[in-house]
Symmetry: C2
Subunit: 238 residues, 2 copies
DNA sequence: ACCTGAACACCGTTCAAGT
DNA sequence: ACCTGAACACCGTTCAAGT
């Protein structure tokens, strides 16, 4: 009798790493980080909690894998055009992906493999090269961009999460925050008081892209290109 | 008999909100977010887990309060000089505080009260006014700065955490990451491969301040001051 | 008013036992 | 090789009972 190759029993019915990750993403999207439990997951996959451990090392491995899958998808979808437009597209793609899957924000840093970071590094770096940024300044440029993109996207997603937790949508949240600020004592909090109106009207996504443009402008500017300037040595010392 | 005013029994021996928060900060610093449990906390305070609930609503309240205390301290310590130097000082103060207390990074956004955000908003906003940024652009400037400061500081602290978790220090971490990148296939990951060397040498704190300077430069620049430009309408649509 | 600590309803993870 | 599900050592939170 010929022994069948192991694995692959009955076409996709079986428990695979991919199926587990897919189910985890659904669970994370619908009920957040607290919603991802091995019990809920195994119920959704009609199996026992122990079965999952055959395919996945532990919860943090699971979270990393789910995060990597989302980032990979977002990067695959970005359209490559001119260097600056492409960087904007990568940035917005991540911003939207993290906004849609807020749990990705916290998972992305602790992702064990280097995969999610490299997935972002590569397309951004390629465009920075295309912009003819001198070799020795390439990391500074890419590092600032990635830190900004991930940092601000996370911030934004957290705010959305916070709003949803309290049961209202983003504009209600802005409204509430803004009126809270305008009610602060103008003597003690003059700025918060005066900026409340602008805060109510602002759009995080537009602000995000303005920041990207600001950084891109800085990368282009001749003064920046002339190399590091060590201007603020005093400020920098701990 | 004169009834004593309630509270204050035996000089600071009693369980107070402050003592609980102080102990929480110590616990968070020494063993991270997972280290803060009501059991560990009550043991440290030689009381029962239930006692804490008399002073604190729940765990998220506790985390917010601890976070607010750290932010307040950092802001109190910043020295006010010229507008731009002051903004740099605020930024670095937060960067260092979050680096030293990495759990603050994740707690700061979900902080229920508006207190931690307003604590940062106010000094930054004051300096933006001092820089004579037109009223209608003040939020954009302050919003970008705060998003950058918190976002990048969190990123940085997460990286430090990650390194510590794996049992080595920051420079070992850079070393390991850098050699991992340089071992990647240059055909598939040309940029990661080529930038590995610069990554090894970079200093997050210096990069952080460069980013702040970049943004401050952008805020100053006349083109930015001339108002929003809606250049990338196509990119922005979802 | 404040504190105690057992009890409840959960977790992630392990592991002998099955197929 | 892969899956089962009970068991273990934890959690946050509650609440009757004490002082």
């Amino acid at each position: 009798m010929v022994k069948k190759a192991p694995g692959r029993p009955r076409q996709g019915e079986s428990l695979t790493r991919e199926r587990i990750i897919e189910a985890s993403i659904e669970l994370l999207d619908s009920s957040g980080e607290v919603g991802l439990t091995f019990r809920a997951l195994s119920e959704r996959l009609s199996t026992g909690p122990g079965a999952i451990y055959w395919h996945i090392a532990n919860k943090s491995d699971l979270l990393s894998a789910a995060c990597d899958a989302v980032v990979a998808r977002a990067m695959d979808e970005t359209v490559v055009t001119t260097p600056k437009e492409t960087i904007r597209a990568v940035a917005l793609g991540l911003f939207d992906a993290i906004n849609e899957h807020p749990w990705v924000g916290s998972a992305i840093t602790s992702s064990v493999g280097l995969s999610p970071i490299v997935r972002i590094l590569e397309p951004v770096g390629e465009q920075i090269r295309a912009l003819r940024v001198p070799e020795e300044q390439q990391w500074a440029a890419v590092g600032t961009l990635i830190a900004y993109i991930l940092g601000v996207s996370k911030q934004n997603a957290d705010n959305g999460q916070l709003a949803r937790t309290r049961g209202f949508d983003r504009s209600d949240f802005l409204e509430a925050m803004s009126t809270a600020w305008s009610k602060l004592d103008p003597k003690q909090y003059p700025f918060a008081h005066s900026v409340a109106g602008q805060f109510r009207e602002h759009d995080d996504r537009v602000d995000f892209i303005s920041g990207i443009d600001l950084i891109l402008k800085g990368i282009d500017s001749p003064r920046h290109r002339s190399g590091p300037q060590h201007k603020h040595a005093a400020t920098l010392q701990r």
